[in-house]
Amino acid sequence: MAARVQLRHLAHARSGDKGDTANVGVIARSAEAYAFLKRELTAGRVAEHFAGMIDGPVERYELDNLQALNFLLHGALGGGGTVSLMTDAQGKVYSTALLRAELEVPDDVLASLAAGRGER
């Protein structure tokens, strides 16, 4: 059994800029959530989510020791930094846009999130 859930329930995220590239780090809330995200939250999935909003490819790096995934979204910041006309020219809240992504999450992963909450 699975449920359609927003990424914000499985992980938290932070982001920033590297020139015109938005750098979004997704930190899973539990080990099960990390395993699930490693499988399902691919660079392709993220590119789909931001379709029409970014001008370049998406790369993914895995940080198993932190249970985190790091995404590089090229051409996401309208030139970036001082050149961009965007409110979020430095991509500081780009992470929050990714947390809207909806995924089909199996029940056991959802259960692990509830369990983990007490310990953090």
């Binding site: 020139g19 909003m53 309208g78 930094g81 001082t82 050149v83 965007m86 409110t87 979020d88």
Partner: protein, 219 residues
């Protein structure tokens, strides 16, 4: 090991010998010049006059031409640096309930039409609605119902300062000639800002000498 110890000594010796050699060479050259300019010493006064004429008096010419060349360089340089790079400006207005978003969108349409009619060309014109979609763009979906207010934010940039400057004067007229229920303009006309782009790059770590300095200051 002995080699390394004597290495410094040998280097020092080489430097001294080099200095003495150069001194000797210059002295011999000077002596040769003096020997061949014997006749000039018979008319010493004339020689001095000649030196004065060719050297001291031409100083004025050098200063005057230098001044003019410098002035031209300065003017041209200023002209180039003035136009160097792009300029940008951001205009904002806050539209209040009711129909805050609809009014803000109408104001944006009016503004863009104005810019078109004025024949102003920009590298980019970007509209965002703070409170609705400024951070998430299309992912924010349709605007929420009954927003208390929304900020219309229009940003432009161009390599030419003139259209950007002209744009900054098109925000205030929207207050009286655009949709009602608008505020947030007490800041006055937006400022034209020079864009100085930065280019992040990687540098080989061997080029950096790391160090830590600790300073204790009593306050």
């Amino acid at each position: 090991m002995l080699d390394r110890a004597t290495g410094a000594l040998r280097r020092l010796g080489r430097q001294c010998i080099g200095a003495i050699w150069r001194l000797g060479y210059a002295s011999r050259f000077f002596a040769a010049v003096l020997m061949r300019s014997g006749t000039s010493f018979r008319r010493f006064r004339l020689v001095i006059k000649e030196i004065y004429f060719a050297g001291v008096l031409s100083l004025i010419i050098i200063i005057v031409s230098g001044l003019f060349v410098g002035m031209v360089l300065g003017l041209q340089g200023y002209e180039t640096l003035q136009r160097y790079g792009s300029a940008e400006a951001v205009g904002t207005l806050v539209y209040a309930w009711p129909d805050a978003v609809a009014k803000a969108q109408k104001a944006d349409a009016v503004l863009r039409e104005r810019l078109d009619r004025l024949g102003l060309v920009f590298d980019e014109v970007r509209t965002e609605y703070v409170g609705w979609n400024a951070t998430h763009g299309p992912l924010a979906g349709p605007p929420p119902e009954d927003l208390a207010e929304v900020e219309l934010r229009v940003a432009v940039k161009s390599e030419d300062k003139a259209p950007v400057e002209r744009f900054t004067r098109e925000i205030a007229p929207l207050i009286l000639s655009g949709p009602p229920g608008v505020t947030g303009f007490a800041g006055g006309r937006p400022r034209v800002q020079d864009i100085v782009a930065y280019w992040p790059a990687l540098i080989d770590r061997s080029a950096i000498e790391p160090g830590i300095e600790v300073e204790v200051v009593e306050v």
